[in-house]
């Protein structure tokens, strides 16, 4: 009798510990997803213009799943300590629903990260940056978003284009329609600027003299934060789900052992 009591106590202790970890991970997931949703690098307009912002949807789901995990973990702790069958049944069913949502969030974030290729941003930049005749209101909003974001990107990261300034030479673009190739082989923002925001040597920049223009592509500055975002949501969610799986199996075993 004493031995089975000890086993029960050990199982209870393990389940309580498991639920505590789930609760803390839930809060961490919520915090992480809120951080991503606030878009500290200002890259959301680029995703919005590609009409492929599902990694943000995954982050939003993550916020609510985190809260749900925290609340359910408290419910689970109470249920385990009180050995209440009804509470634990409710806990198990709600946890399954949360598990399903978090699964969806992880798979969405991982899948849609693969769509964010350099070519996607290149095409969007060439077609939208400084486009002068918007087709409709929605197009106008996207154009403004893309233009502002690219200007900020190129100024802050000292880069030009997606793969380099030659993007502007290899392809025709909406930018080329309003800015002649002789004056603007690439946008002015690609030039090295002084403190007042004026190019240091405009002729040098136009000719491509090293030191007067930015030769790097901006793709690293875009993909870095997006990778962190997508993999942060996907892998952390995956880890939480693996742990939750174990805790849920333990809870079900405990539940089936409770006498009426």
């Amino acid at each position: 009798m004493a031995k089975s009591d000890d086993c029960v106590h050990i199982l209870q202790g393990l389940l309580v510990f498991g639920n505590v970890v789930i609760g803390m991970c839930g809060i961490a997931l919520t915090a992480e997803c809120i951080y991503f949703v606030t878009d500290p690098h200002g890259l959301y307009p680029l995703l919005e213009a590609t009409e492929n912002n599902d990694i943000y949807a995954a982050a939003w789901i993550g916020i609510f799943v985190g809260f749900a995990l925290f609340a359910l973990s408290i419910l689970g702790i109470i249920g385990v300590i009180k050995s209440d069958r009804t509470l634990l049944l409710v806990y198990i069913i709600l946890m399954l629903i949360t598990f399903a949502f978090e699964m969806a969030s992880c798979i969405t974030a991982a899948t849609h990260r693969d769509f964010l290729t350099p070519n996607l941003f290149l095409k969007q930049m060439l077609e939208r940056y400084q486009k002068s005749d918007p087709a409709n209101n929605n197009d106008q909003l996207m154009i403004e978003g893309v233009t502002k974001t690219w200007d900020k990107l190129m100024l802050q990261n000292h880069c030009c284009g997606v793969l380099g300034p030659s993007d502007w030479q290899d392809y025709t673009s909406a930018f080329r329609v309003t800015h002649s190739d002789a004056d603007f082989p690439w946008p002015r923002k690609c030039c090295v600027m002084d403190a007042q925001g004026v190019p240091v040597n405009l002729d040098g920049c136009k000719l491509g003299v090293p030191g007067y223009y930015n030769n790097d592509g901006c793709y690293d500055a875009i993909s870095g934060p997006m990778n962190t975002h997508a993999w942060g949501v996907a892998w952390f969610g995956f880890a939480i789900l693996c742990w939750t799986f174990c805790v849920l199996l333990g809870t079900m075993f405990y539940w089936s052992g409770i006498e009426y």
């Binding site: 699964m103 991982a110 693969d114 392809y171 673009s173 082989p185 995956f238």
Partner: protein, 248 residues
């Protein structure tokens, strides 16, 4: 003059664009033949028209920039010969096609306007004095400008599915299936078990063990002293105090 104009070999990203190109500045080439008042022109012609180009005999015959589509050549970049002297401090390259203002305003000065088509061009330098051409360099190799492609040819689709997605999706799907099966199984087993127990409880002969209680024989209840009833049904001659017949 044996000099051949050429595009600079330095690593300049903008040395050839869609409407401009850069040339190395010739130094010390014209010093022997030139007076101080002479000027050096750059002749730009389509590669297939370079053989038919005739040097203009005077300053009035210089083909302007506007004539490029019809005459297939023009002359530009008129600079004093001193700029090409050995001792002149100068930028190392000349940019052909740099001036967009003169194209739009149509001035008559030698216009260094952007080139309208990418078709291969050949250039040569021509030293013009007051009475006509004095010296010229050789024609350059054909220079082909950049041709830009439409961005519609860019294919934004990813080249291959990442392995991380497959790992995450497969492991999560299997975990979810195991959990769902476990819950359904546990619930089903409990339901089946409780149904079976209810069935067994309704049958008269159950397998439960009965615990017998020892019931001591009941002691005869003390009869009320005031009632002697021997044969039942004959009534009782009550010697009790009469009970009240009706309630108050």
């Amino acid at each position: 003059l044996p000099y051949v104009p050429r595009i600079p070999t330095a690593a300049l990203l903008g040395k050839v664009t869609a409407t401009t190109f850069a040339l190395e500045r010739p130094c010390c080439i014209f010093d022997r033949h030139a007076n101080a008042s002479d000027a050096v022109w750059l002749v730009v012609a389509f590669a297939n028209a370079s053989a038919t180009f005739r040097n203009p005999l005077s300053w009035a015959d210089v083909p302007p920039y506007k004539q490029l589509p019809t005459a297939h050549s023009y002359m530009t970049l008129e600079t004093a010969v001193a700029a090409y002297a050995c001792s002149a401090p100068s930028p190392a390259v000349l940019r052909v096609g740099d001036d967009t203002a003169c194209r739009d305003q149509g001035r008559h000065d030698p216009c260094n306007g952007p080139l309208p088509s990418p078709g291969p061009y050949r250039v040569k330098f021509l030293l013009m004095g007051c009475h006509g051409p004095k010296a010229e360099t050789r024609w350059s190799d054909p220079i082909l400008l950049q041709r830009a492609v439409s961005p519609g040819t860019i294919d934004p689709a990813p080249s291959h599915r990442g392995s991380a997605v497959v790992v995450i999706a497969s492991i999560l799907a299997s975990l979810g299936t195991v959990l769902a099966t476990a819950v359904l199984g546990a619930l089903g087993a409990k339901l089946w078990g409780s149904l079976c127990h209810r069935d067994l409880g309704t049958s008269a002969f159950s397998h439960r063990s009965y615990r017998t209680h020892h019931i001591p024989p009941a002691l005869p209840q003390p009869q009320p002293l005031s009632c002697d009833c021997s044969p039942p049904g004959l009534g009782c001659f009550a010697l009790r105090p009469p009970a009240p017949h009706h309630r108050n």
